[in-house]
Symmetry: C2
Subunit: 335 residues, 2 copies
């Protein structure tokens, strides 16, 4: 049926070992090389990755596990990772665990049974899993994206979340804002805590006392952002600036401001999170903290591949990449 290495060997009049060596990049005698190449071409030979995997225990496959495939931030990162990996002839097997701990365990085992060579994990709000230890024991590298999981001693790739907040709030302070509100994400998550931390640090650095009523929670959801913003603008003394710490909350908050006919930046200044298409559509264009999803994805992919190939020189590494502030027109400089 299909063309095998033996067919190529016969046609090229060499042994199958020679063909195998050719395919794996070893040098052949010039004359043999030419005949092998010609045989491959003429027979239309294609490598059988399954057979290869059986002996080598390599499937050229990286597992990707995330809470939800509909999470724009995660899929942006995965896109970048997939592109990089495909260039290296690796494919990704994706599993979604629907934010449920028991699913996470199950999916991790599922992928392990499929002999993924490495794992890129977006834990979201899920705790660690004993299955991860099995990966480590089996020597399957894991890269955790944008989360910490302190009990798993492995590589991590994150944005510098607290620094992102710090710089956003610092920018507001430099524009003479003092009454700066934050719409926080879920404090049970690493990113949620870190982004809050940066906010507090910035205030502290500039000797501004944090005010409890300016610290709100949107739990990383659309509706949460909407409600938090509503609450903030109905305070007796509303803040002069709002900083939201994720895309969905940014979006919800903007809708709330629009609805209440509050003008940005005239009535209130605003810094959002994540820079997608929609920032162009909202008026005025928003000043936002942009997450370098491309770089995150590439870094995650590169790191996991480095481990797969046996380079553990800097293990475990925590790579932090900086966010970028995109200055647009949603922040007013106060007198």
């Amino acid at each position: 049926m299909s063309v095998t290495i033996r067919d190529v060997a016969k046609k090229a009049n060499v042994s199958l070992g020679t063909v195998s060596r050719y395919l794996n990049g070893y040098k052949l005698k010039e004359a043999n090389r030419i005949r092998v190449e010609q045989a491959i071409r003429e027979l239309g030979y294609r490598e059988n990755l399954i057979a290869k995997g059986l002996k080598t225990n390599r499937t050229m496959t990286i597992g990707v596990v995330l809470a939800s495939l509909t999470d724009f931030f995660a899929t942006s990162i995965i896109t970048a990772a997939e592109n990089y990996l495909a260039g290296e002839n690796y494919s990704i097997v994706v599993c979604d665990f629907n934010s449920k701990q028991e699913n996470l365990d199950q999916k991790l085992r599922f992928l392990k049974d499929r002999f993924v060579d490495g794992l890129i994990l977006f834990p979201g709000s899920c705790a660690s899993s004993e299955v991860l230890q099995e990966y480590m024991d089996a020597g399957i590298p894991i890269v955790i994206v944008n989360d910490d999981m302190p009990d798993i001693n492995t590589d991590k790739v994150t944005i510098d979340n607290s620094n992102a907040s710090f710089r956003a709030v610092e920018y507001l302070i430099h524009q003479n804002h003092r009454d700066i509100a934050i719409i926080n994400g879920d404090q049970n998550t690493y990113t949620g805590r870190e982004r809050y931390k940066g906010y507090l640090e910035a205030l502290q650095t500039y000797n501004i006392e944090p005010r409890e009523e300016y610290i709100t929670y949107g739990y990383f959801s659309n509706r949460g952002g909407y409600e938090a913003a509503k609450k903030l603008i109905s305070l007796p003394k509303p803040p002069t600036a709002i900083y939201t710490t994720n895309y969905y909350m940014t979006f919800g908050a903007i809708i709330a401001l629009n609805e209440a006919k509050i003008k940005v930046p005239d009535d209130i200044s605003f810094i959002g999170f994540d820079h997608f298409e929609l920032s162009d559509v909202i008026n005025p264009p928003l000043t936002v903290v942009e997450q370098p999803t491309d770089r995150l994805g590439q870094l995650a992919a590169k790191t996991v591949l480095r481990r797969v190939k046996g380079d553990y020189s800097d293990f475990p590494v925590h790579l932090r990449v900086n966010t970028k502030m995109i200055l647009k027109d949603s922040v007013r400089k106060l007198k």
Copy 2:
């Protein structure tokens, strides 16, 4: 190193053929079954899918190819498909072709080299590919989601796009609207054309002459929807109702209306497309056409698996599922 079927056979004191038969669901003599089960348990044996695949040419893997992993609609469908497939012990290998024809070919070949057992394809605006014919020749089933590809004779799963538009527009007509505008998607795509078609059919059915200036194009993008809406509301005689034919355009249009301080539904009625979280946040809540992404995903998965398992009884089938209209408060009944 790892526990094989031979280890199990030795421990259970049967031949490896017997263990293999047990694993594949054949009946054993009671006593043997018990010993095999015990051996499997005690040794912690796990099936090696790679080895299995080598002989059976089955990888228990379905390839998924789409334009962009960040497309919410597609990923919603994929989530549902993935859940169903995982339940059947299949995994999905995902490739993103970044809306480029040459990438599509390359990714399709990439997956074929990985011996996917079937393919779920979201062609988006891409044309057919010769590689698809190779799949068909190799007997690898293909299910196309929400697109047509007339030159590929295979299964399709779509929503009933033209009917979705028809019913939305009909609903507006029943609320006594006559000046109904549409914000169309890209007419180079199947969904774009079909949704436009349903609009025209509804007008025709109720003897309403379509007006050229009410037929606008947003090309399925945020910004496109925004600009089309702006154009519509600045017409000398603006429409009394706007119907948008995709999520991103709905979003863009709403921003444009908000910005222009046009009240929905007092000044203009509105029907959007796709029902996500954000409909809850926008005020007033939008009447929308909801796409049953869960059902689409399940159907696509079920169909491809049926083919994988050799059931070609109704091949090729075009499954059309109906959209659902969610009535909220964005349409006003005219006198």
